[in-house]
């Protein structure tokens, strides 16, 4: 990483930490801006469920005292930030005594796996298809087939998930209808388990890939078309370089750079989309965790899960940004 200019590094890190701070602060402020008192609402719900709760006012006061809601807001804020920095997200209220960190720790790897796997596929396929679309030497048939495969582009992954699940899960019964691995199986590092995870993850991943790769193909095609008009392309042809060599070294190498930037920008949308796909497939990841938390009206769990997903997305963006100078040597020269 010695090649990264200090300026670039500092700016990226600044954006990363500011993102975390803004997200954490938003999550702190939002419930306090809302009308009504969350604790009173919770006790009211208990009263509604149980019919009658003795001394409900005392309970409200007790909880307020316990959660420190009687302290001034800035004291609460400092304490909240301190807890976050230590990784203490509190308890999942509806599933006491599980902590939010525990539940998140179990769910996060699945989401990272699903999104990572899908990203790998759509980024490769999309860029390859885009390059082929723009390349002058591509067979005519391929140039007709590719746009046809892109019909689903820009549909949300959630809808693609519904359609895939119906066709391949319920009608044809080729793929499992829910979960990331068979019910009752214990996560372990055996070939059998890994295969079953791939089998269960295939449809959710495809739901993301099918609607996403066309976007990358279009972006790549746009870049390639621009590059074809550059002077160095004429030079490459005049030198008599092999077409494949020109495609790879001169065109794709250059066109992939803006695509990497675009990937960093799209991480947020991608994570949002996969949250919903997980809900459709009842996948064991963060999306399903948020969905159950919403149903159980577990604020603490909703906030904790959202915050960790935001941190993960910001981290992914940071990693892509830091890898960027490695593939684009020009960046490292800047500011030196």
């Amino acid at each position: 990483m010695g090649g990264i200019s200090l300026n670039y590094l500092v700016r990226r890190l600044l954006v990363f930490f500011l993102t975390l701070w803004v997200a954490a602060t938003l999550i702190f402020i939002i419930p306090r801006l809302a009308p009504g008192d969350p604790i009173a609402a919770m006790v009211a719900r208990l009263t509604y469920q149980a019919g009658f709760v003795e001394d409900s006012n005392a309970i409200i006061e007790g909880w307020k005292e316990r959660f420190g809601l009687n302290d001034p807001v800035y004291v609460q804020y400092v304490r909240y930030m301190g807890n976050l920095v230590r990784g203490d997200l509190g308890y999942a209220m509806a599933r006491f005594p599980s902590t939010v960190s525990e539940l998140v720790g179990r769910a996060l790897p699945w989401t990272i796996g699903l999104v990572g796997f899908a990203t790998l596929i759509f980024f490769t396929v999309g860029n390859l298809f885009g390059a082929l679309l723009a390349w002058t030497k591509t067979p005519k048939l391929v140039k007709v087939m590719i746009p046809m495969s892109m019909i689903f582009t820009s549909i949300p992954p959630l809808l693609a998930g519904l359609l895939l699940l119906y066709v391949f899960g319920f009608k044809l019964r080729i793929f499992p209808q829910n979960y990331a691995y068979p019910l009752g199986a214990q996560p372990e590092l055996t070939l059998e388990f890994i295969l079953s995870v791939l089998y269960h993850g295939f449809l959710p991943a495809m739901a993301i890939v099918l609607v996403t790769f066309g976007y990358w193909a279009l972006g790549m095609r746009g870049m390639m078309v621009t590059i074809e008009g550059e002077d160095y392309m004429i030079l490459a042809q005049a030198k008599g370089l092999k077409p494949f060599y020109v495609l790879y070294r001169y065109m794709i190498r250059n066109a992939i750079l803006p695509q990497m930037t675009a990937l960093a920008v799209s991480i947020g949308t991608l994570v949002g989309g996969s949250v919903l796909v997980e809900v459709i497939f009842n996948y064991n990841g963060m999306g399903t965790l948020i969905f159950t938390a919403i149903r159980e009206q577990d604020f603490n769990l909703i906030q904790g899960t959202s915050f960790i997903l935001i941190v993960t997305s910001a981290l992914a963006v940071l990693i892509i940004d830091l890898c960027y100078p490695l593939i684009d040597p020009r960046i490292s020269l800047e500011g030196k």
Binding site: V15, L162, V265, G268, V275, L276, I294, I310
Partner: protein, 314 residues
């Protein structure tokens, strides 16, 4: 001087002739027109639906339950077979809403969220994008930082946190919440375009002639950005509808008069997939898919209108 004059005349001449040649008009782009046509058709159908169909059937308990579309049979349980009736041509769902009424009411509501959120986002995006790109300096730094942060945060998650506190809200509120995030992408995009435009000859010329900055921004640069702005608007609208449908599917939509996403939420809640009631989730899904494909076509068309090189390649 004479040479420059003659080229200008020739160039101006061909351009004038081109305006009358309909094949030269970039706005007559088939992708753009198809997409716009589909949206127009949907609007017309919704309008006709409001005229000729009883939209109060979109409320609960207004129709018999779980009927399949007209002409089809639905095996409910072991020995009950429900048959579709002409009174409910697209069937009904679990709580007695007529599917046809539901989509007539739901489709414009869903698209409406996109229009509101995208419009607010666009106005803010144009203002900030021009400020950052044209004026620059510390303002550019601040706006760029805010944009980067907003884009990095997955908006759906913050919206989930907001909505889990607010509960289910009406669609205008939902649209405004979504627009808290929908300004960032247009801002970034417009800033980049303005930065390129700023150095171009005609802007330099206007600046040297002492045209006020505001006029350069909105009278000189803006008209040239129109196709880009339109493409950005459509992209933004797609994003906003995706967010709205996502929130609705999580159960945050208005529950009484449903939109398409809310219909999908109800169908998931009631295990419509397992019960083989495909029309319940399928019809809203297909309509949403058609809307998204239409928006994509418009966007692709606008890209080609804005970028002549893409036009040549296709």
């Amino acid at each position: 001087m004479a040479e420059i004059d003659s080229t200008t005349v020739v160039f101006g001449g061909t351009k004038k002739a081109g305006a009358f040649n309909r094949f030269d008009n970039p706005w007559l782009n088939w992708k753009f027109l198809t997409g716009a046509g589909i949206l127009g058709l949907i609007a017309a159908l919704v309008f006709l639906g409001y005229q000729f169909w009883d939209t109060s059937l979109a409320l609960t308990a207004s129709s018999p339950l779980n009927l399949p579309p007209f002409g089809l049979e639905y095996q409910k349980g072991k020995d009950t077979i429900l048959v579709g009736v002409p009174e409910h041509p697209l069937g009904t769902e679990n709580s007695g809403r007529d599917m046809l009424a539901l989509i007539i009411v739901g489709t414009p509501r869903t698209i409406g969220v996109g229009v509101i959120a995208a419009s607010v986002g666009m106005v803010v995006g144009i203002l900030l994008g021009f400020l950052a790109g044209f004026i620059g300096g510390w303002m550019d730094d601040v706006i760029r930082l805010a944009t980067d942060i907003t884009i990095t945060i997955p908006s759906l998650l913050v919206l989930i946190v907001i909505q889990s506190v607010l509960g289910s809200v009406d669609l205008v509120t939902m649209a405004l919440l979504i627009s808290l995030f929908s300004w960032a992408t247009p801002t970034r995009y417009i800033r980049a375009q303005v930065l390129t435009m700023r150095e171009s000859g005609y802007v330099q010329m206007a600046r040297l002639s002492g045209v006020p900055v505001r006029d350069i921004m909105f009278k000189e640069i803006m008209p040239n950005l129109l196709p880009y702005l339109a493409a950005s608007y459509i992209g933004n609208m797609t994003g906003a509808i995706i967010s709205a449908v996502g929130l609705e599917v999580l159960g945050f939509g208005p529950q009484r008069i449903p939109s398409l996403g809310v219909a999908i939420f109800f169908s998931i809640e009631a295990a419509a997939l397992l019960r083989n009631m495909w029309w319940w989730w399928g019809i809203p899904t297909v309509i949403l898919a058609i809307v998204f494909i239409a928006l994509l076509l418009i966007n692709l068309g606008l890209d080609e209108i804005a970028n002549p090189r893409l036009r040549k390649a296709s």
